[in-house]
C-alpha cells in the first residue's frame, strides 16, 4: 500500500530517518518495496503479505513500527459520542446472516455540504494514490487509509424509511454499481439492501441508486465488519476488486467499526458542516472477542534455535500488543482482534523471532542422518546423456515446455497433447510432446544470426495424455547442420556417428538402425534406432520440402540432420557394466576384400552375411573401407570394400586358416547378397 511517511510519523514517535525506518520495517516483515516523493514528502510502497490485513492502514503500520522499534504508538482512539438518544429520522438495521456480517454500525448525519476537501486531506489522499472527489467520499477513504476500516456513505433520502437489510441476494437481482456498470448478482451474494433491492455489494462497492451526489443533504455512514470469504467470493464473481474489498478479504479488525465511525463523524463535522442525527447504531449480535493461545515458553528456543530468556519472550509479545499471563506454564497469551492471523503457538514463536530480529539468529548446521545422498536415477541418466553429447561437440539448449503446436509435431499424436485451459496465447496453449520443434526453432534462430556450424541438443521432459490422466517422459533431441569441422557438411551419417558414440558411452554394444518412414523426415534418409528390438527413437535428415515450407531459414541452407531418442526407455534397457576382456596376445591378420552387389543391398545385409559365415569366432572386426558407384560400375551396382580382421586368442593364425575363413565368407556373400568379386 502507498503510505505517506509524514502520516505514519503522526502515529508513531521515532527519531529514525526514513531510510532507517524503511529498513527496520522491511526486516520486521513489512517490506518497503519502493519510496516515492510526493507533495507531502516521501511515500512508502509497502508489500502487505496476505496474512496481514492489519498492515493495510497507517495505524497498522504504526503498530508494527512501534513494536519493531520499541517506540511509543502516539495514536489514541477517538471517543465514541452517544448523546443524542432517539434518532431524528427513521432508521433500522437488520442483519439476516450474522456469520457473513457479524457487525454493522451506522450513523445518520444531516446538513451535509458536498464540498471539496481541505488541501491537507486531498494531499494525503493523492499521496496515498487516491483521487479526491468531495468531502464525504474523501473522508470515507481517508479513514480507511488511516485506520483500515472501509466506510460507505449512502444518500439517506434514497433509502425508503431508512430501512437497511443486510442479506444474501436472491436469484435474478441486479445492481448498478458506482462505476456505472449494471451487474447481475449471483444468488447468495451478500448485499446491503433497502426494503426491496440491493443498494450496495457488501464490502465491495456501493450502488448508484443510493449514491451521494451534489444535492445530498443527509447521509447514512456505514462502518461494518464482513466475513473475508464472502467479500472475496463476491469480488471474484463480479470481477471487481476495490480498496474496500481488498481490505475485507484480508480481514479487518472487528473492533474498528465504531472507532472509524467516530473518526469520520469528527472530520465531517469539521469540514462538511455535518450534524449527527443519530447516535452510532451498532448491530453486533455475537461480539468477536480476543482469543487466547497457550504457549510453553521453551518452544521459542526450540524452534528458533536461539537462547533467549522467558522475559525476552514476554516482552516481545507485549510490544506487539498481546497480553501475556506468564504466571504458570503454558503461558496464556491473549491476542487482540486486529491479529486474527495468530492462531497457534508456532505463530507466537514467529512473532518473538521477528521482534528479536532474524538477523540476530545464529547459523548452525544440523547433524546428518547416516544415509548417503544421491541424485535421482532419471536426472542422473539425463546428465550422462548431456555430458556425452557435449563431449561430442554439441551445445546444450534449454527451451520452454509450454509451446505452440508446431508444423514438426506428429499429427497422429495430436489427440494426446496436454492443453492449457483458457490459454492466453498459442505459445502458452499446451505442453510439448516432443523436443524436436523447439530444437529446430533454436536452430533456425541461430541460422538467422549467421551461424554456420550448428549442433544443438536438449534433454528434457515431454508430456502426453494417458486416458484421463497425464504422462511425462524424458527425451533427447538434436539438430545439426553445416560443416562440423570435417570439411564436409553434416548429414545423416554425422547424426549417426554422434548417436553411436553416445550409445557407446552409455554401454550399449549392439543396437540396430533400420530404414524407416517418419513424418517431416527425408524418406530415404531416416532410420529407427532399435535397442533390444525396441524402437528407442529415430535419426534422420529433415525432409527438405518441409524445411522449405515450415522452417524459417534461408533457402539453400543444406541438410539438417536430427535425432530424438527416448532416454527413459534407454535407461530401462541399460546394459550391464562392460566386462574386462584380455588384450590380444597374438597378432591379428587383416584382409581386404572388394565385392560388387546390387545398388539396393544395405550394408547391414553384407555384414550380416559376413558374420553368418564366420562361425569360428576368428573374425573380430569388419570395417567399411569405401563404397563406389560410378562410371566404372554398372548403373545398378556398387562396389563395397571391406577390411576383415581375424584373430585367435591362443595362437598366431596361419594363412591357411584365414583363407578357409575367407572362402566361406565369399560363399555366404554370394548366396545371401548376390555378391561378385570386384
Amino acid at each position: 500500500m502507498k503510505l505517506p511517511v509524514s502520516w505514519l510519523r503522526e502515529f508513531v514517535e521515532t527519531s529514525l530517518d526514513e531510510t532507517a525506518l524503511d529498513d527496520r520495517l522491511t526486516m520486521a516483515g513489512l517490506e518497503v518495496e519502493e519510496t516515492h516523493p510526493s507533495a507531502i514528502g516521501s511515500v512508502y510502497h509497502t508489500k502487505v503479505t496476505p496474512n496481514r490485513g492489519d498492515w493495510m492502514s497507517v495505524l497498522g503500520t504504526a503498530r508494527e513500527a512501534s513494536a519493531a522499534l520499541n517506540c511509543p504508538l502516539t495514536w489514541t482512539a477517538p471517543a465514541v459520542q452517544s448523546s443524542i438518544g432517539a434518532a431524528a429520522l427513521p432508521i433500522s438495521i437488520d442483519i439476516q446472516n450474522s456469520t457473513l456480517c457479524p457487525r454493522y454500525a451506522g450513523q445518520l448525519l444531516g446538513s451535509v455540504q458536498i464540498v471539496d476537501s481541505p488541501a491537507w486531506i486531498a494531499d494525503r489522499l493523492t499521496a496515498a494514490g487516491m483521487r479526491p472527489l468531495n468531502i464525504v467520499v474523501d473522508v470515507t477513504n481517508y479513514v480507511m487509509i488511516e485506520l483500515g476500516q472501509p466506510l460507505h456513505a449512502f444518500d439517506y433520502d434514497k433509502i425508503p424509511n431508512g430501512k437497511v437489510v443486510v442479506r444474501e441476494t436472491l436469484e435474478g437481482e441486479v445492481i448498478e454499481t458506482l462505476d456505472g456498470t449494471q451487474r447481475p448478482l449471483p444468488a447468495g451474494t451478500l448485499a446491503i439492501c433497502d426494503s426491496t433491492r440491493p443498494i450496495a455489494v457488501a464490502g465491495v462497492m456501493g450502488g448508484a441508486n443510493s449514491e451521494v451526489t451534489e444535492s445530498t443533504k443527509t447521509i447514512l455512514l456505514e462502518s461494518a465488519h464482513f466475513d473475508p470469504g464472502t467479500v472475496r467470493r463476491a469480488s471474484k464473481a463480479l470481477g471487481l476488486s476495490t480498496d474496500a474489498s481488498y481490505r475485507f478479504e484480508r480481514h479487518v479488525d472487528p473492533a474498528l467499526p465504531l472507532i472509524a465511525l467516530a473518526r469520520a463523524v469528527e472530520l465531517l463535522k469539521d469540514f462538511a458542516g455535518a450534524v449527527p442525527l443519530s447516535d452510532p447504531l451498532d448491530v453486533y449480535p455475537v461480539p468477536i472477542e480476543p482469543h487466547t493461545i497457550e504457549l510453553y515458553p521453551d518452544k521459542v528456543n526450540k524452534i528458533l534455535g536461539t537462547d533467549v530468556s522467558h522475559a525476552v519472550t514476554i516482552e516481545a509479545l507485549e510490544r506487539l500488543g498481546l497480553t501475556v499471563d506468564g504466571s504458570s506454564e503454558p503461558y496464556k497469551v491473549t491476542v487482540p482482534t486486529f491479529r486474527p492471523d495468530l492462531r497457534l503457538p508456532i505463530d507466537l514463536v514467529e512473532e518473538v523471532g521477528r521482534i528479536i530480529g532474524y538477523e540476530n539468529l545464529p547459523e548452525t548446521i544440523p547433524g546428518r542422518p547416516g544415509t548417503p545422498a544421491t541424485d535421482g536415477p532419471e536426472a542422473a541418466y539425463g546428465t550422462r546423456v548431456r555430458r556425452a553429447l557435449a563431449a561430442l561437440g554439441l551445445q546444450e539448449v534449454s527451451t520452454f515446455t509450454l509451446a505452440a503446436p508446431s508444423a514438426f509435431d506428429d499429427a497422429a499424436e495430436a489427440e494426446k497433447r496436454v492443453t492449457i485451459r483458457q490459454a492466453l496465447s498459442a505459445e502458452l496453449s499446451g505442453l510439448r510432446q516432443i523436443l524436436l520443434p523447439n530444437v529446430l526453432d533454436v536452430l533456425a534462430r541461430n541460422v538467422r544470426h549467421r551461424q554456420t556450424r550448428i549442433a544443438l541438443f536438449e534433454v528434457g521432459k515431454v508430456f502426453f495424455r494417458v486416458g484421463e490422466g497425464y504422462g511425462e517422459g524424458r527425451k533427447v533431441a538434436a539438430a545439426i547442420t553445416g560443416d562440423q569441422g570435417t570439411g564436409q557438411a553434416a548429414d545423416f551419417y554425422t547424426a549417426k556417428g554422434i548417436v553411436e558414440q553416445m550409445l557407446a558411452s552409455l554401454n550399449f554394444k549392439t543396437v540396430e538402425f533400420v530404414a524407416a518412414q517418419r513424418p517431416h523426415m527425408h524418406p530415404g534418409r531416416t532410420a529407427n534406432l532399435l535397442v533390444d528390438g525396441v524402437v528407442a527413437g529415430y535419426l534422420a535428415e529433415l525432409n527438405p520440402k518441409t524445411v522449405k515450407d515450415s522452417l524459417d531459414v534461408q533457402a539453400g541452407l543444406g541438410r539438417i540432420a536430427v535425432f530424438e531418442l527416448d532416454i527413459e526407455l534407454l535407461r530401462s534397457l541399460e546394459p550391464d557394466l562392460a566386462r574386462f576382456k584380455h588384450l590380444p596376445r597374438f597378432p591379428s591378420v587383416a584382409r581386404d576384400i572388394a565385392i560388387v552387389v546390387a545398388l539396393d543391398v544395405p550394408y547391414a545385409s553384407i555384414t550380416n552375411a559376413v558374420r553368418s559365415a564366420s562361425t569360428s569366432g576368428l573374425l573380430t572386426e569388419i570395417s567399411l573401407q569405401s563404397v563406389y558407384t560410378g562410371e566404372r560400375m554398372a548403373s545398378d551396382k556398387k562396389s563395397v570394400a571391406l577390411r576383415l580382421v581375424f584373430q585367435a586368442e591362443d595362437r598366431t593364425l596361419t594363412d591357411a586358416e584365414v583363407d578357409s575363413e575367407l572362402a566361406s565368407i565369399w560363399t555366404a556373400l554370394t548366396q545371401q547378397v548376390g555378391a561378385e568379386q570386384r
Binding site: L361, P362, E363, R386, G393, V397, G485
Partner: protein, 329 residues
Amino acid sequence: MTPQEQLAEISAEAGQAIELASSTADLDQIDQEYLGRSKGRLTGLLRLIGTLPPEEKPAYGESVNSTKNRLLDLLASRKNDLSEREWTDRLNADSIDVTLPGEARRSGGLHVLNRQIDEVKAALISMGYSFAEYPDIEDYYYNFETLNYPPDHPAFDEQMSFYVDSTHLLRTQTTAFQAHVMEVQKPPIRAATVGKCYRYEATDATHSHTFHQVDLLAVDEGLTLADLKGTFAQLVKLIFGEAEIRFRPDFFPFVEPGVEVAIRYGDRWLELGGAGMVHPNILQSMGIDTERYTGFAWGLGIDRMPMAKYGIDHLRLFTENDLRFLRQF
C-alpha cells in the same frame, strides 16, 4: 711405396676427407671407403703385413690399428658435430608461424542454466540431501491443499496458474514435492528436488511464465530456524563463495515462521526465494509427530543465480539459446 708410406698417405687422405665432409652421409661413405670390413683402404693395408720382414710386423700392425682408432674417433666426433647441425637445420626448416589460428575444433557445452542446476545439486548432495524428480503436471492437492493453503485464501490470486483440468495444473512451485516425500518417507528426511515451475506472469527481465526452483525439505528431531539459516549460508558459500545473506520475515502458508532469503549482490539484495519451518499442520497431516519432529524447507529460484554470477541482464537470453550467448560460459 712401402706399406708404412701408404699408411701415412691414406691416413692423411682420410683425415682430410673427414675434415671436409659436409654431412653425416659423407662420413658414412668415408667410413665405408677407408674402414670398410672387406674393401676399406685402411683395412686393406693390414693385408700388406705379410710383405714386411718379421721384425717390422708388430710395429706396422700396431700403427695400422692406432691409425684406424684415430680415424674412428675423428669420424665419431665429426659425426656428432654434423648430426647436431643437421637436426638443427631440419627443425629450423620445420618451424611454423605459431600465431596462425588453431585447427577449427569446437567442443560442445552445457547450457548455463543447467550448469547452475548441476552445481546446486552437487552442493546439496554434498550436504546430505537426496534428489528425486516429481511431475510438472501436478494435482491441485499436492500443489496447494497439502501445503496448508486455506480454501478461498488471497494467496491464490497471487499465483495465477496454468490449469490443464479442474484438478490438475502445472506446478506453481516445486514445494509441491513435500507431501509426495512425506507419503513414503519417515523422519529423518533430507530431500530435495529441482525443476520447472509455471505461473502467469508479465514477462520482463527477471520474470517469465516458466522458471526453475530448487526445493529442500528436512524433517528431524530438533531442527531449528537457526539450522535453516546455517544451511542456506552453507549453500550460498558453495555457490557464490563469500556472500552476505539476508533472512527476513515473510509469509507462505506452508511455513511458520516464514522467511525470505536473499544474498547481497553488488549494492542490492537479490531475493532468492522463500523458506521457513515446515508448518505443523503439514507435518500433522502427514502423520508426523510434531512434539518430536520439526522441519525446515525452502524453495529457491535458480534462474537469478547465473544472472547474478555472470551479470546476465535478461532472462530471455536463457531461452533464446543464441549460440553466441551460450558459448560465453
